[in-house]
Symmetry: C2
Subunit: 612 residues, 2 copies
């Protein structure tokens, strides 16, 4: 070990500490002590170990760093200031509305791939990045910095399990064991052996070090990537290290130093600090750029009108169909691939399919990691179980991420398996994600066309598929633009516009038939795009039915299609009457449940009759 290197990196670490203290004190909030505990680890990584191009932080073969303990954001910003990418003066604007140096990192900054700050999510993202490396034959490494407190999150162990199974040996977790959580010490304090035993049990290689001994840090980092196992570096650290007055003390989480305290701390650190200005950063191995884009067209589809196909099956068929023409597509599933039909993709493209086992949080996080490398990552499981990954989906929204979720087995129409397997809240969950797109096809053609658009689009997409077989309603040439809708029945003199989607669209068509025998006409709309909603068509149709609208959905009455329609159109004086599920459903046959919970043709006809 070159003593000069050790001294240099320690000096940079102290410079990062000074920046972190300065920035949080200027901001009047933030987490300087969490930055200080990790400063040596991070300095060694960026200035002594990682191979990357600071001028091009998105270069595809750069080593990657994920700050899973996002509250140490000032430390990350300090690094990029020392790399010359941010003006050092910007650090004093931390947490201000006019600066993108936010309280927790977001991809508004070019060197941040995903938003962090909800703890325990970074390791999954890192695992997903390493899947991308495998698919694209890249040799970058991914370093993820975690706090010890966040290791209580189950998502960390989902990711650890996954990385162990897939032998992601270029994934390196650094555990900053600073002993102190937000409100009290962690359960294990400085018992590093607990973390060691856990990661080893999850099939990781481990190294236990003093996280402030630069020589030790450099040594273990240089052994990253060996063997077949991912590596966990478990570092004993001190919260607030470098600030003697508050080192290792409770009550200093999320608390900046006063100006006087900061000045004193900085005065003590200054003699041991140095700027990084002249330190060379090792470049990554040069690789060809990834120029793949969506193809001009995907292969055509061939359904027959009236043919019985479940939309969940059409999802799998679609992925398998477009996966050849579009190599960007990868798929992940949580041990439900024979039910979601993602296995159709797996069978054709096994190298681009990742079985994630029953661990939905990690699956969504890994998809987000894949998306950083321009993969179109399709994630499927029962829609009910996507609730398990709600926080990861939420954070993908804040990451302005690009993931394609498919949730199958929605609503009471799944039948006998019962409420635990029925998604009844997924539309509500997915609508309330920043920039999300919520799609709910009623037939195979719509499903296939929507899957194509999911692959072409960018954002948090959700496709809601159903278990029962349903007749094909549309020609193979029909187009389904995002934000559109379809009018399937419309006659002059219609009394009510019924807005439905998925299985209830078929019920609405039956209701129309039933009502027409009574001389009552209704317009029927397929709201396959729930968000953005096909508002224009619903409006223009309902204007001709006395502004009376009935919505019907196989979903809880709250937050779903009905609320979407009411929320968009009630301001204009449209009257929206909602049908949906109002209680925890029982097991039973699909048609029995549609009847019991008031969302079948009879219920729709009844609602219409009550309005005329």
């Amino acid at each position: 070990m070159n003593p000069a290197t050790v001294e240099m990196l320690s000096g940079i670490a102290n410079q990062l500490r000074i920046h972190s203290i300065t920035a949080t004190t200027a901001a009047g909030s933030g987490h300087p002590t969490s930055a200080c505990s990790a400063a040596d680890l991070v300095a060694a990584l960026f200035f002594g170990q990682m191979r990357f191009d600071p001028k091009n932080p998105q270069y595809r073969n750069n080593d990657r760093f994920i700050l899973s303990k996002g509250h140490a954001a000032p430390l990350l910003y300090a690094v990029w200031a020392e790399l010359g990418v941010l003006p050092v003066s910007d650090l004093a604007r931390l947490r201000q509305i006019g600066s993108d140096l936010e309280g927790h990192p977001t991809p508004r900054l070019p060197f941040v791939d995903v938003s962090t700050g909800s703890l325990g999510q970074g390791l999954s993202v890192g695992a997903g990045m390493q899947l991308a490396a495998r698919v694209d034959h890249l040799d970058f490494r991914t370093y993820v910095l975690l706090g010890d407190g966040e290791c209580a999150e189950g998502s960390v162990w989902e990711a650890a399990n996954f990385a162990g199974i897939y032998q992601l040996n270029s994934l390196i977790a650094l555990i900053d064991v600073n002993r102190l959580g937000q409100s009290q010490p962690t359960a294990f304090g400085h018992d590093l052996d607990v973390y060691k035993r856990r990661f080893e049990a999850f099939n990781w290689r481990t190294e236990v070090i003093d996280g402030h001994d630069m020589e030790e840090i450099i040594e273990v980092l240089s052994a990253a990537g060996l063997g077949t196992q991912p590596l966990a570096i478990i570092a004993k650290t001190v919260k607030g290290h470098g600030i003697p007055a508050i080192e290792d003390k409770e009550g200093w989480h999320g608390k900046p130093l006063s100006k006087e305290e900061a000045a004193r701390a900085i005065a003590e650190l200054q003699p041991k600090a140095r700027a990084a200005g002249d330190v060379p950063i090792a470049p990554p191995r040069a690789v060809a750029p990834d120029t793949r884009v969506a193809p001009e067209a995907y292969p055509p589809i061939h359904y027959k009108l009236g043919e019985l196909v479940a939309t969940r099956e059409a999802y799998g068929t679609a992925l398998a169909r477009i996966g050849g023409a579009d190599e960007r597509i990868v798929a992940l599933d949580g041990d439900t691939k024979n039910s979601t039909y993602s296995e159709k993709f797996m069978k054709k493209f096994p190298d681009r399919f990742f079985e994630c086992f029953i661990a939905e949080q990690n699956m969504v996080g890994a998809a987000l990691g894949l998306s950083v490398f321009h993969k179109e990552a399709f994630v499927s499981t029962f829609a009910a179980f996507l609730t398990r990954a709600h926080d990861q989906i939420r954070m993908a929204g804040h990451s302005m991420g690009n993931i394609k979720l498919c949730g199958s087995h929605v609503g009471v129409s799944i039948g006998e398996d019962g409420a635990s397997q029925m998604a009844l809240e997924d539309i509500a969950m997915m609508r309330a994600v920043a920039g999300s797109v919520v799609l709910y096809p009623a037939d195979a053609v719509a499903t296939e066309k929507l899957v194509e658009q999911m692959a072409r689009g960018r954002g948090i997409f959700f496709l809601r598929t159903s278990r029962p077989k349903a007749p094909v309603l549309y020609d193979n040439e029909e187009q389904f633009p995002i934000g559109g809708a379809k009018v399937l029945r419309k006659t002059p003199g219609d009394k009510v516009t019924v807005v439905a989607a998925g299985v209830t669209l078929h019920e609405a068509l039956r209701a129309a038939d039933e009502l027409s025998k009574e001389g009552v006409g209704i317009s029927v709309i397929d709201a396959y795009s729930v968000k953005p909603l096909g508002t224009d068509l619903i409006r223009s149709t309902a204007e001709q039915t006395g502004r009376q609208i009935v919505t019907v959905e196989d979903h809880y009455i709250e937050g779903g299609l009905g609320d979407a329609v009411a929320g968009e159109l009630s301001g204009e004086g449209f009257r929206v009457h909602k049908l949906g599920v109002r209680e925890s459903p029982h097991s039973g046959k699909s048609e029995e449940l549609l009847a019991r919970y008031g969302i079948n043709a009879q219920a729709i006809a009844g609602a219409v009759r009550a309005l005329i």
Copy 2:
């Protein structure tokens, strides 16, 4: 070991297999092979180990059993048929709408405490039950049966971590390692050592056994409860054990046998099977009944109008205030107790407070387990992080459970910490839970009164608290019924009714002041009860403002207060115009963000002006 006992229990196990096969074949769906792998374990438990009163399954000192692998439901039903609690003939009605023997267990059955079927949740519930045992000095044990596949769920490791920390030595996990998941083998097959190492790393005692060797099963079960550690029994089993034609074969998850296959299987099992009829069940130690109910009244509150108090702080104050008069109350927090203020309760009632560390899924599951023992379990963390436990909350709804959630730090009003810490989707999430109650107080008095009602009520309650201090608006005597609302401003000639809650109520009051200077009157409503909504008062108020309503909320525009109002009232021709957050927010000062995202007084006034 008495050979007769071994033979008897093995015989009962085979009887349970026969019932499981018969029931699923009659139903035409279900999971007989998952039942058969666990039959020996379950027979030994119920007929050889557990102390309980079959006639009174809710007896508070009964040993408890949780079928975390809920798809093995027919096995559980078979047990209770053999116990004489269900007629054996009922088993043939499995999964029918007229029978409560549902596809996955629900508490519609008296011997089921919580719904299962979303995997990986049972261990947390079991841990919560053992917390209740500790609080109430009961000595029952909780046995949780998990599949190997579900051990990929992070929630299992959150629960394992928690049980290890709290040394819940009467919590016993039985891992039914049958090697096969739904769509393929698990990652570890019959490598039992993986599970052993993991549970040991999480500070559990482990036993590895052959799950079909009754002698071994009985032996390890008899050593449950020793020492200070929870016990994991890791059992090597065969999926479909007892049905030679399909034992250990892929493609048999969730698939019943044909009538012929069933007949053949039963013919082979019958000679080795025996009914349990005469087997004595050991009774539990008798304990006094828990007669505690909510007190007549809680101690009074003493706020001054205009006093600045954050609702998050009032939550903690309220819990601490009522916790003395109401011993049913317990509190759990995820290392945020100094921010949610649940620490105020902890300081007064340390024995009824459980630090859950940063593991929200387990926290909610444990609360549900506590509620089974009539605890009023209050769970607090940042509302954004409750999304982490969405699936547990969903399942608590299907359990018809009783948990009291408090989510703090909602919306952009938290300020500088940034989007990852802001709850912007929590109302949407919580409205779409069966039987939920969603409360959103704007001041300390409302908060205190709502916490009282949460303690008195039964269901899935959610209280949304805010970070900023806000002036007290209400007298100490004001009442806040669930489903109510308050009119704070109302003058003849008002043009618009503004419906707000939390921080936006204060903005609405400012808007009213601003508009009144222009001669424009608005009615202002505090919608502190978002679900059930105070519809009657909103209706009667808005009828006097030309049916024009503006809603404003510190939440995404989808699925929150605005949709709730529109969904309730648009059918009657009210016009609802929504203000809410429409993008992932930036860091900044609270007031800057309220302005930027269009939910402050100016934005409200602007929306009103646009309508008149």
